[in-house]
Amino acid sequence: MRITKRSRHAPSRAVRWPRTSVLLAGAAVLLSVGSGSRAAEPDAAATAHAQRIAVTVCGICHGPTGNSTQPKFPRLAGQSATYLVSQLKAFRAQTRGDPDAIAYMWGMASQLDDATIEALAAYYAAQQPPPAGRGADALVARGREIYGQGVPAQGVPACSTCHGADARGQADFPRLAGQHAQYVLKQLASFQSSMRDIAVMHGVAQNLHLDDMQAVAAYLQAQP
């Protein structure tokens, strides 16, 4: 039975899209909340334990090295450890509310302690990211344009501003290169509806049309 989303607070409603600089400042503040500073490097026992969990439990969906084959489950190989830590803690705290987070990850993360979360994040960050996927040329080209330049007419900023020109992420901003298009699309839809309640990404996604989302998702999947 699906659990209804907890309404912890009203979703943010950015009426007008602010200038990029304001956005970035807001993003940095929001995304740093909760993630905290990175703990010390996991010890050998924690690393071995995390590898075992990653391969035998997480790996059922995400693939043993985080290169999932099913587009429902995001690829984690090469993902930013900081981002992974913040997400696992958000699952544990049941504050990330997109449907698959509720159905799958709230339970899976519920008993993880901080040390295991750190070690799991380190495991995935150290894995070889997936090779570039495929996408329809026209869609990928449109996606590249949106990713690099945004959609100024709709007040949508360039994704590359935060996620990097090569989409490989940095610190709190997740790696998107090589991610399943379907997963990216679902996340953008969740940001738009605020089920995944991140004010910055809601602001980015609120004016994105479905075909734009599809283009960006296709572009990202095709990046190495």
């Binding site: 039975m1 075992r52 790996g59 059922i60 084959t69 099913q70 379907q182």
Partner: protein, 478 residues
């Protein structure tokens, strides 16, 4: 399906083929929310729509039902050995089925012998079945799926499908995995991971108040809950699966006539397995994108002593009937966000060597064959509304003793005028799930052939289509 021993005994059937008709009437069912409570994951992690398993569900089962995200009560020794690892919440579930069944034509009323009367049209099962499950982790590497069922046909509570598992998962080089495990279970294929084998195959639920064909292969239900099997398996990289093991009799509700105890089985018990009988399974699954494809083979080789019945004992010795089943299965699943589609298919070929039955004239031939083919296609939209269409066919040797004609003065219906076991038809089913643990099903079964013929199959004028069955069921679990 408690209480069927009464049916067995009263008919004193010589072979399991005939016995099957009484047993297949109500396939056991499964939906176990205690797994969801234990893992903290929604039904959709393990099921497309219950009880069909996803890849995650298969791995969860192969690993012994032990994946847990619950708080634990623990105990450890001074050497850090785990002595206790107990969930704070017991993995209990309840399940109920409430149903309505009506056949196209009524059946004769035996209480109205000598006059043309029929039994009441329409049967309400309230409940048809009610089950209590213990389903989840017992200890590290040890889990259980135990079903205790009240069955309306018997009016009693009895043991239903049971699967106790021990499993351990090894890490291999290059991040591969190898799971090895043991299953102690009471129904051949109940331990299997795919829905293309009989125990968890379509139809997932059926009426227990309808007439069903005489013949069924040994692996397709007749021995469910009357045997105990210990099997060992290997599951490599969540794709290649190999299992082998043995079954022997573990009959329920049968007593030794001398001691009155639960055993040893004597000549008043029927269909007793002779010693330990092999079961085997090999399957390969490939997952890509949103697709899953499995192909496999499985089978068993049962040697059965016909035995007798209370008051009509036949010693458990001498020649046996041998049922050698070899089957192929295939399963395809597409699991999208909106659309879910699956195909389940199996083909079971049984070779019967009826030394015991032929010697006692309970079969007309020394050996027979029986072949069952089932193919089902299921579609769901958003896991909320969907349906299944299945084609089923059983063909086999004509054997006028094994599939007997109507006796003088008897009403027919469950007999075969020409001694043929051939039956075929279609099942169409519509399902609606207002919530993921509540399912409303409208099911219709069409027979184009029944016990050997399309019309007048029993020699009493009944047509196969007279047994067409409308079945409506509310099925929920919590």
């Amino acid at each position: 399906m408690p209480g069927r021993t009464t049916v067995q005994a009263s008919r004193n059937l010589a072979t399991t083929a005939i016995l099957a008709s009484a047993l297949l009437a109500a396939p056991a069912a499964l939906a176990v929310p205690s797994f969801a409570r234990q893992t903290g994951m929604a039904c959709e992690a393990c099921h497309t729509v219950f009880p069909e398993l996803t890849h995650f569900g298969r791995v969860f089962k192969a690993n012994g039902y032990v994946l847990s995200n619950l708080k634990k009560v623990r105990d450890v020794s001074g050497k850090k050995e785990q002595l206790l690892d107990l969930s704070q919440m017991p993995p209990l579930s309840v399940m109920a089925q409430i149903s309505y069944t009506t056949m196209k034509s009524g059946v004769p009323d035996l209480a109205n012998a000598g006059a043309p009367g029929v039994a009441q049209s329409g049967t309400v099962g309230f409940p048809q079945q009610f089950s209590l499950f213990y389903a989840g982790e017992v200890a590290p590497h040890f889990g259980a799926m135990v079903q205790l069922t009240y069955d309306s046909a018997a009016g009693t509570i009895g043991i239903d499908n049971t699967d106790l598992r021990f499993a351990e998962e090894m890490l291999l080089p290059d991040n591969g995995t190898l799971t090895y495990g043991l299953s102690l279970n009471n129904n051949p294929t109940v331990q299997d991971l795919w829905n293309s084998t009989p125990a968890w195959g379509f139809p997932y639920t059926a009426s227990n108040a309808a007439v069903t064909p005489l013949a069924a292969t040994a692996i397709n239900g007749p021995y469910a809950q009357d045997v105990a099997g210990l099997t060992g398996y290997l599951y490599w990289n969540e794709s290649l699966y190999a299992e082998v093991g043995g079954y022997r009799s573990a009959q329920q509700g049968v007593t030794n006539q001398l001691t009155g105890g639960a055993g040893p089985l004597d000549g008043t018990a029927s269909n007793v397995l002779s010693g330990v009988n092999p079961y085997w399974r090999l399957a390969y699954e490939h997952n890509w994108d949103r697709h899953t494809l499995e192909a496999g083979v499985y089978g068993l080789d049962f040697k059965v002593l016909p035995g007798g019945a209370p008051g009509a004992a036949v010693p458990l010795q001498g020649p046996t009937n041998r049922f050698n089943d070899v089957a192929e299965d295939v399963q395809y699943q597409f699991i999208g966000e909106e659309h879910l589609f699956s195909i389940l298919g199996t083909h079971i070929h049984e070779s019967m060597t009826l030394d015991a039955s032929f010697a006692s004239a309970a079969s007309a031939n020394p050996s027979d064959t029986l072949t069952t083919t089932e193919v089902a296609a299921t579609y769901y939209y958003h896991r909320r509304i969907g349906g299944t269409v299945q084609y089923f066919s059983t063909t086999g040797s004509t054997d006028t003793a094994l599939y007997p004609a109507t006796a003088p003065g008897a009403p027919g219906v469950i007999t075969s005028a020409n001694g043929s076991p051939d039956s075929r038809g279609w099942i169409g089913e519509l399902n609606y799930l207002p919530w993921l643990n509540v399912k409303v099903t409208l099911q219709y079964t069409w027979y184009s052939k029944f016990n050997g013929a399309g019309s007048n199959y029993d020699g009493m004028g009944r047509s196969a289509s007279d047994n067409n069955t409308l079945y409506v069921v509310l099925w929920f679990a919590y």
